[in-house]
């Protein structure tokens, strides 16, 4: 089974859906666990981080009323999506993820060698996405409420993550809207934020070209999703005894997760970076060493035969 | 009358044991000599005559020992390790505690076998590469001291303190003993020293296999009371020796013949 091709198709369809779905009035709600940007005119659903930041920016007392119930409704939807599909949202749906995968394919086609993090680098910056997640909740709270009698933060800091997220300048481009690619000189805060946004956009094109899914290591949505990975129905399991330590899985993993290969004791190996792209299962040459499971049932196991078929070893020379 | 025969063809002696209805009814021990087939046949004929049996009463024959394949009248063969364990476990069957370690010192090899709770071989180690720790070594000692093998036990029990013999190789130990005799050392003490050498060697083998009580000791040299005592001291435990230790292996083979029937 060529999962990578199926995934590419689903990513493409999701991209079309998320960017243009609104044209045919598709509305998947405001609790999507992917960067389906609010700034896309016809988006079929909203990235949950946007309402999260918006609601966080409201004064506390408003949250105790109708707004709070609305927030709970979006959060409920979000949690439901996550319980069913876990971080597969990152690997199979997220439009930013899709664009990064396309950049990687372009790089491979141009025969440019890919770059990898050193182990130290990868380990050192693991916490960045969690820091961003905390900031994107705390900063808006500081706008709507005053901490310890200190003055409230400027309104310019509203939806702080959206202002630097690469989705904001990128995804509207597909509607023909290039208005988010600029530096906003209207205030000091805006200058900083929009400059950051441009820098991150530039980084997106260069770093994500050279390193697979560069941005995903720092994405706060990924951080939020990782909090639920143990409770989800979709999961990745490993049988440590069948593992021959060949290292194929870690080598092809776009997120460079070493634990897939190194872990021999635990069976559940969805780590904080994993986006369930299942490339690891595709290159595992041992039967049933790695398995994708849904509600405990195996839906895609690693097999020697499947491995060889995908490697093209069976084709006529 | 269903009888079963076990034949243990060792390097020095050939042993035959006949069992019937779960009891041992007769045995024979003869020097193997050069023609083991002939020796075994003669022993069988003599034993049958002694027990007043015919050949057709023997319903199954199992051979064991290093010459087990050299006789043609056996129905099957079994390794001496398995046979030894069977014989030892059967001999100790009425004992409250079970046999867990079997030590066998033969003419030209020695073995230590670990037995599990069900009376099956768990692990074993053999010394079949050199004469040290075997009956051959004791033969050498008797030759130099000009005594009989049967005197070894009693003489050594009279010893005050054993004289240490350093060489592990039987050939070099021979030279060492000759020089001790020349220096007019006490015979009993030399014999006790030789026994110590063997016991240390066996103890090393026991350690590699693991000592669990009860320890059972068989093979010709087990008749040597002096050797048994030194071995008990070396292993720091009591050792059970059957009344006819030379035939335990053949007995085990006979038991296996009855099971195969």
């Amino acid at each position: 089974m060529r999962v990578d091709r199926i995934r590419l198709l689903i990513q493409f369809l999701s991209f079309i859906l998320m960017i243009y779905g609104g044209i045919v009035l598709i509305n998947l709600g405001r609790g999507l666990p992917a960067l389906t940007c609010v700034y896309s005119k016809y988006s079929a659903g909203l990235c949950f981080l946007y309402p999260l930041q918006r609601f966080a920016g409201l004064p506390f007392f408003l949250l105790l009323g109708g707004y709070g119930i609305l927030l709970l409704k979006y959060m409920g939807m979000f949690i439901l999506w996550v319980i069913v599909l876990n971080t597969a949202w990152c690997g199979w749906v997220c439009p930013i993820g899709f664009l990064q995968d396309l950049l990687s394919k372009l790089r491979a086609y141009m025969n440019v060698d890919l770059s990898r993090f050193s182990w130290l680098t990868r380990d050192r910056y693991k916490s960045v996405k969690y820091i961003l997640l905390v900031l994107l909740i705390l900063l808006p709270i500081g706008i709507g409420n005053s901490f310890f009698g200190l003055p409230k933060l400027t309104d310019d800091l509203a939806v702080p993550f959206c202002q630097i997220c690469p989705a904001k300048p990128l995804l509207p481009m597909f509607d023909g809207n290039f208005s988010h690619i600029f530096i906003d000189f209207s205030s000091g805060t805006k200058i900083v934020l929009s400059t950051l946004s441009m820098i991150i956009l530039a980084l997106f094109f260069t770093a994500s070209f050279l390193k697979r899914r560069f941005f995903c290591s720092y994405c706060p949505m990924s951080a939020l999703l990782s909090l639920f990975k143990k409770t989800s129905l979709l999961s990745l399991k490993k049988d440590g005894r069948k593992c021959t330590q060949c290292g194929n899985c870690s080598r092809v993993c776009p997120m460079e997760i070493r634990e897939i290969a190194d872990e021999r004791e635990r069976t559940d190996i969805v780590t904080q970076d994993c986006m369930l792209c299942m490339r690891c299962i595709e290159v595992c040459p041992e039967d049933n060493a790695l398995r994708a499971t849904f509600a405990g049932m195996t839906i895609f196991p690693s097999t020697a035969k499947g491995f060889l078929k995908r490697q093209g070893a069976f084709e006529k020379v | 009358m269903d009888c079963f025969l076990g034949v243990d063809i060792g390097s020095a002696t050939t042993k035959l044991v006949v069992i019937n209805d779960g009891k041992m009814i007769g045995y024979r021990i003869m020097p193997t000599g050069v023609q083991c087939e002939e020796t075994a046949q003669n022993a069988l004929t003599a034993l049958l005559k002694e027990l007043n049996l015919d050949r057709q009463h023997i319903k199954g024959i199992t051979s064991t020992g290093y010459g087990r394949r050299l006789i043609c009248f056996a129905d099957n063969t079994i390794s001496e390790i398995t046979a030894n364990v069977r014989g030892a476990v059967w001999l100790m069957r009425k004992n409250e505690e079970k046999v867990r370690t079997v030590i066998n010192i033969g003419g030209q090899d020695s073995k230590v076998i670990a037995v599990d709770e069900d009376g099956m071989t768990k692990n074993f180690t053999m010394n079949d590469k050199c004469a040290a720790g075997t009956g051959r070594f004791l033969e050498t000692v008797t030759r130099i001291l000009e005594i009989n093998v049967t005197d070894l036990g009693e003489l050594s029990l009279n010893a005050g303190a054993p004289i240490k013999i350093n060489s592990t190789c039987a050939v070099f130990a021979e030279s060492e003993i000759i020089s001790l005799v020349a220096r007019k050392k006490n015979k009993s003490e030399i014999i006790a020293g030789a026994h110590c050498s063997i016991a240390i060697r066996i103890a090393r083998m026991v350690k590699s296999v693991g000592l669990i009580d009860i320890v059972f000791f068989d093979g010709g040299p087990a008749l040597n009371k002096g050797l048994v005592k030194v071995l008990e001291d070396e292993l720091a435990t009591d050792i059970y020796v059957p009344s006819t230790p030379q035939i335990t292996v053949a007995l085990g083979a006979a038991l296996m013949a009855s099971e195969a029937f």
């Binding site: 890919l114 330590q245 060949c246 290292g247 194929n248 491995f307 060889l308 069976f314 | 398995t82 768990k122």
Partner: protein, 424 residues
């Protein structure tokens, strides 16, 4: 001809005669066995070439370079991609060990001594006609062997990290593989480009497909092929050209799968199933598999670098750039290697544990060559792991000499009797 040369020739003839006798003994016994699969004839012919036509053991074209290897860590895909042909030279003959003892202490790896013996004297021309000999610096004896073999053939040593788990060691090995690639290109004058490398990887993968089929056959409860024959099949890969070998194994697999359907076995299905592990068994050092099967057991699996581990793990291609392919090759050769020269035993324990389940193994025989410390050192860990699974292990320490055959036979017989006894 000088007196010295004359003497050497006579010694050489003597060794050849002894080698011939050893090989003949094994082949004759194989011949007598009526239950052998017909397709084994191909592999027998290759071993026959040892004594009859040793010049033509290795099939090569005119001008093609021959690269001798001493270890499964040498990436053979690179050798094929450079237009050369790889030959595994790990040796199993007792008769050349004596020669090797001129250069190494008595208690040292018999395989190394035998290989040095072959290289020092033209008993089989193969050893001296290699254009390059590649030796990964695995154990102490191989490291010294490199230095000694330099006297007879051009040698390339590949340096090796002993602790696979660190990032530095993997980078180090990747560098060594790249260095090897450069040396090969210099040797053959042919550049290793992407399409040649891709083709080489695919060719070896085809052989690996047949090996996986072969493994599946041996996992079944019905013993349709003897362990000795299975070892012979894997051993001939050392010398044979990969494509013809693959074809031959394919034919054998077809015959064996048919036997599984028809139920034609080579021995009783109740023969105790044995797994052999430890220091490698190489033709004509055929003592162990023969004794196991003569004592009533069936050798269903092995964990030797000369057999099962040689072709089990596969190179996984991701992107088709040169650097990615080299990375994939470097990983495949280093990471799943369970050789005891590496610091951690966990992988080997897991491998043997998994194999015991897959092949329904009832007993493990741990084979240690005298002087082989790495395998000796891991014996107790493997024994503990097997004890937890309720599988007994027998340790056999020996060398290539035939002197201790009867002693080993007694031990193996007792072991097999123990297994049979436990079943009841």
């Amino acid at each position: 001809m000088s007196e010295k040369q004359n003497k050497l020739n006579r010694v050489q003839k003597r060794i050849k005669r002894h080698l011939s006798m050893s090989v003949r003994e094994i082949l004759d016994k194989m011949d007598e066995d009526r239950t052998r699969p017909k397709n084994m004839a191909y592999f027998d012919r290759l071993f026959n070439a040892f004594i009859e036509d040793s010049k033509r053991i290795v099939k090569k074209e005119n001008g093609q370079k021959v690269v001798g290897t001493y270890c499964i860590l040498v990436p053979e895909e690179l050798i094929y991609a450079a237009g050369a042909v790889p030959v595994r030279l790990c040796a199993g003959s007792y008769d050349t060990v004596e020669n090797g003892e001129d250069y190494l202490p008595d208690i040292s790896c018999p395989m190394v001594k035998s290989a040095i013996g072959f290289s020092a004297m033209p008993v089989i021309p193969l050893y001296q006609s290699c254009d390059l000999v590649v030796i990964p610096a695995t154990c102490n004896w191989k490291v010294k062997m490199g230095e000694i073999l330099k006297k007879f053939v051009p040698v390339l040593m590949l340096d090796l990290p002993r602790i696979k788990e660190s990032e530095n060691s993997r980078k180090f090995w990747l560098n060594e593989v790249n260095k090897f690639k450069q040396e090969l290109q210099k040797l053959t004058g042919l550049k290793i480009n992407r399409s040649r490398l891709r083709k080489a990887i695919k060719t070896i993968q085809k052989a690996q497909i047949e090996v996986r089929r072969f493994e599946k056959v041996r996992m079944s409860q019905l013993p349709v092929i003897q362990g000795q024959d299975a070892l012979a099949v894997m051993n001939t890969y050392f010398y044979d050209h990969v494509e013809s070998w693959t074809e031959a194994v394919k034919g054998l697999n077809d015959e064996l799968e048919e036997r599984l359907c028809s139920g034609k076995t080579v021995c009783s299905s109740s023969a105790p199933r044995i797994l052999l592990t430890g220091s490698p068994i190489i033709f004509p050092n055929w003592k162990m598999p023969v004794l196991i099967e003569e004592s009533g057991g069936i050798l269903v699996a092995d964990e030797f670098c000369t057999s099962n581990r040689y072709l089990h793990d596969m190179v996984a291609l991701d992107e088709l750039s040169m650097s990615d392919m080299i990375h994939a090759i470097a990983d495949r050769y280093l990471l799943p290697c369970t050789c005891p020269i590496f610091s951690d035993t966990l992988d080997r324990r897991n491998r043997i544990s998994q194999m015991s389940d897959d092949y329904q193994v009832e007993g493990v025989i741990y084979h240690i060559l005298k002087g082989c410390h790495p395998y000796d050192a891991e014996m107790k860990t493997i024994e503990e792991m097997l004890k937890d699974k309720g599988i007994p292990q027998l340790k056999i320490e020996t060398d290539f000499s035939p002197e201790d055959v009867e002693q080993i036979r007694t031990r193996i017989e007792a072991f097999i009797e123990t297994i049979k006894g436990r079943r009841r």
